[in-house]
Symmetry: D2
Subunit: 358 residues, 4 copies
């Protein structure tokens, strides 16, 4: 008997179900041993509080194309993982207890950055863990790509497409705020795909004057509207000089709902043009996974299933140079895959005439 | 020689180009007289300041499926139309002068509520005016439907669809704020289409307790998430008792970006559940018109062309009981088509279990 | 105890699940009586052979946006309904037996033309029947609209959109064959929405010379490609003169897979232009229902639920002048809602310059 | 003065305009030299017969999201390129003459396999040539990816999605014929993304018995429908043993419109199940490019622009290990990038339970 636990952790994204279906189908189809799948509810919480259900074939029927996660998810911050919960429960011990009580052979975790730290901790504590790289941010270290990313690009791009026609009709400046607090893969790709004139990402601090210049030059050239794709975590050159603590302090007493509104105000003041902000927000995590993500998540799931059957544990399944690879959890945890400001894609975007505010 | 002026006015929406293409093609194809089309730029501003360009066959090629308006648009509030502009220009006189100077036979105006008041004024001043009902709000009096509406429903619904999967994954309450300041057709239809549990529209003031009750009942029934479609102009029962002036005053000193955030806060306080707000905003006006709107706008344009060729002026082309009709401009101007709280669609929505907070 | 049977019959379409969800929710939410829902499998077959399952709340969760039918469907031709099956089973008697054995209060049938004949027969035989107008063809008598239609228009239009770019790149003539054997609502609307130059529908027999003329005129005017939307049941003027029997005979010895290929060959011969045929086929019945259909089907379902609770049987729920109406089954059965060649929409399409081959 | 010629050749696909916009913008933005762009009409024909137009900034406005090619395209088979045309024109000499007469510095060619042979020939003849890898088939040697491919995957997948709901409603076997005569990347990816049960590609000859077995096993397991993604060039094991000549002969006297219909007939005979064939056909080349392709084509265009400015000629811009690379034309021409039946993606698909008929 093979007993496999599975959970989805952190902010949800598209193709979580596709990936889990991939794991399930692969294991079921490729062993003669009986298999039991335990689905933990709401991420690590399910493992801590032993909330789970047995997953059967019918649970995985027709979910390839369904967004969200059939298991539910939650955020259990890594920095609190070693602290007892409000009832005094030792979370790590509780997770181990659930694991051993159910006699699991392996735990499959689908999650992003923070969730991988916890996964690595559990591996260090002796559990057999396999993980899959889930995030719309594409910022996981050790893999060229994460699932959810391309679907989110599609949604953010469609948002820019829609804004494009209305911006052009009214001759306005439009800011589209795209998800990405620490890294800019999503706003970068959606910005290029949507034909944005300016893209602001956390990795490249911006000078507001450069942005204003571009808008005014466009105006002079008869291009009456401008589109700016702004990462949630876009940061000005001055703010980038602050310490993390100082910057947090500054944000805390901010009168703006988000950085986009501050940028909007400054542009409006300087240029006199109408500026509008659009925030697609959580829609970027939702809806039907795009075909790319379905294929990619299915393949990742298949590879995870293969590792389980070969009893190779302690890895995240990653994707490097178009091949599935296994990456030791210890290498993934705590690292971020950010954009190198000198990367080819940035150079190409600049040659196309896109301004990054630097 | 037939000389036709055309302008698009107010907030843009989908299928403006489809409608103008319909007018142009119909006139071109159905008369032997030479025709000249003048496209005024940026709405009534183009007419006031005599900014226009001659429109040719190639201007209307491949625009059936393109959102926005090839002419640009702007809002020139009706209540300021009789006031001189900042340079002392008499706007009404200027519009008439442009019209007569170009020896126009007719002016075609595509616009919403406010724009129809100005169109009616121009008709009263003796100009030949034909209008088409453009608005995502579907609130124009005298027509069952306006173009732009169904495309906006599609976008707002897709937004709710995407939120659905993420709301369900996290067990959260999600508010999607849908356009509609004074009328609720758009949030009502998007809400039903997206499977919203609660829909709040301006025509039915809400009681926050009713909303909280529904969320808590759903919670007890094991349905861990709730979706609320909120019109921009949703209003509580208490606020509905205020005079317009008092309510505006109250809104002015509001600390919330919009009504949705106030509702969110109240729900979060009362239920302890995570509540998130999503505002698709201007995306609802943009992008490719849906097939329904393309057919509808093309038909409206064709009918406008027919009226022009028959020299029947002073009408908005409307749609009643599945037929094109002509509605005197004086009947359209200044009226709003709101939702009767006792209408069939509201009754049916309530039978389906949707809460309107009343 | 209220016992309700439900079945979906004939070719499937979008929003069948949305409509059934509407019936279920409305009945469940609006009576204190206990209710039992029986879902018959694969249309009338389920009723004949007593194959069904009890439907619960969870069966209707998350199906608003899912295409197809959770009950399955099949075609049981009306003309064979009075004949015994291959095992000698009397179908009508068997259906009645199932109905009475389960002590049903009512049977809800979602179907198109043929299926309504059987529904009417069952009503005449004394069963309590309520029906909903399901078909992508929009050809049901007694209602302005059927659900499934608008979703099919969206798919067929998207197909024409996609063909448009490739037709324009290659300077080819493209035929898109749209569903519609006897009536042309679907090809007519998709054709207008997709910007087709020529639309051929069963109600307006075509003259191939007229079609060739249009293509050649376009060519002379520098428009190097043409798009033709052809109904499956498009018919030439000569063939329209044949008796039904003669025409069937002719079709039977046809060397073409469908009428589009015959038209393609004739155009290619006459103009020397490359002609390509695209047949979206069954995709027109599938996929996620569009927001319009979700609202419409939900409302129809709610109204059916209301009628059930009021014990008003023997009706199809229809839609007339934007209101839900009840139409006696005897009036619906056996009639077809075809396009009047003199209807407003045809006139408008012609004014726009669209050729119907007449 | 920099003079650049540009043409698009072969079957069109999505993102051709995005790629050309990328070249144009990059060159315009990154040199102080005056630049003149010549757009040849309808592929190599424009070069042969000196049909071109000067391309300006406005030609590249708003085309990022538009399918097709603003230049038009055609197929001029490589094997006829050295033969004179029907008027005795020496094609190669004519192309060189046009090139030299216009004093071009470089020719940019966007094309697929065949077109690259001609491009290589022109390079060998001394012209400065830069190419971009365009094809929905993703079969160009020397690059991990071609533009157009991902958009085509999206369309073919959406087709399978739509078929899925109708197949499931009716309990039928559905064959979706996906483009791909010699290579299977497109059907493979669309098949996995759409949840196909069986995928048949040219690289893996099929045994019809294996296919029938899978369908019957699914039937026994209560899964009443099956979806088969079939490449246009799918081939049975027996036929794969024939020589090319023999196979062509066999196809020529075929009574089936395509291989899918033959497979359908065999399945229907063996299983007694209803089998339906859907052929999305040319829709797979059309419509709006997906965000992935827009980014990718823009980047390829930017890199081509960079090479032009550096006067590095004789290369196709390719994509290897997530970086832009330059591939000598002589290496690209005449080679095909097929799927290795032992590739990771095939193994993973098989572990997921997908049958390839081998």
């Amino acid at each position: 008997m093979l007993r496999i636990g599975m959970l989805t952790s952190g902010g949800d994204c598209q193709a979580l179900n596709a990936a889990m279906r991939g794991v399930f189908k692969t294991v079921e189809n490729n062993t003669n041993e009986p298999v039991e799948f335990y689905g933990f509810e709401d991420g690590y919480k399910g493992l801590i509080y032993s909330k789970f259900r047995i997953l059967k074939d019918e649970d995985f029927t027709n979910i390839l194309t369904i967004g969200g996660t059939i298991l539910g998810t939650s955020r259990v911050p890594f920095k609190t993982i070693r602290e007892p919960d409000e009832d005094g429960v030792d979370k790590v011990a509780a997770m181990k207890q659930t694991y051993y009580k159910l006699q699991l052979d392996c735990l499959v975790m689908l999650g992003g950055n923070g969730s991988h730290k916890t996964a690595n901790l559990l591996a260090e504590e002796g559990l057999n863990v396999i993980t899959l790289p889930k995030t719309i941010d594409n910022d996981l270290w050790g893999t060229d790509m994460t699932f959810g990313f391309q679907s989110a690009v599609d949604i953010a791009t469609r948002c820019i497409d829609e804004i494009h026609t209305t911006a052009s009709s009214h001759g306005r400046v439009f800011i589209v705020e795209v998800m990405g607090h620490k890294v800019g893969w999503l706003p970068l790709n959606a910005g290029i795909a949507g034909g944005a004139d300016i893209i602001l990402i956390p990795e490249i601090p911006y000078d507001i004057k450069k942005i204003i210049d571009v808008i005014e030059e466009r105006d002079k050239a008869g291009k009456r509207f401008s589109i700016i794709a702004v990462a949630e975590g876009a940061i000005s050159k001055e703010d980038a000089k602050l310490s993390k603590k100082e910057y947090k302090k500054k944000l805390a007493k901010h009168e703006y709902p988000s950085v986009s509104y501050e940028i909007a105000e400054k542009i409006q003041e300087a240029t006199g043009k109408e500026v509008r902000v659009t925030v697609p927000g959580h829609t970027q995590r939702g809806g039907m996974p795009c075909p790319y993500d379905r294929v990619f998540a299915s393949r990742l799931g298949a590879e995870a299933g293969r590792l389980i059957l070969k009893k190779e544990y302690g890895f995240m399944v990653g994707y490097k140079n178009r091949e599935m690879v296994k990456v030791p959890l210890s290498e993934v945890a705590g690292k971020l895959k950010t954009i190198d400001p000198k990367a080819g894609i940035i150079k190409q975007a600049k040659m196309l005439g896109i301004c990054f505010g630097d």
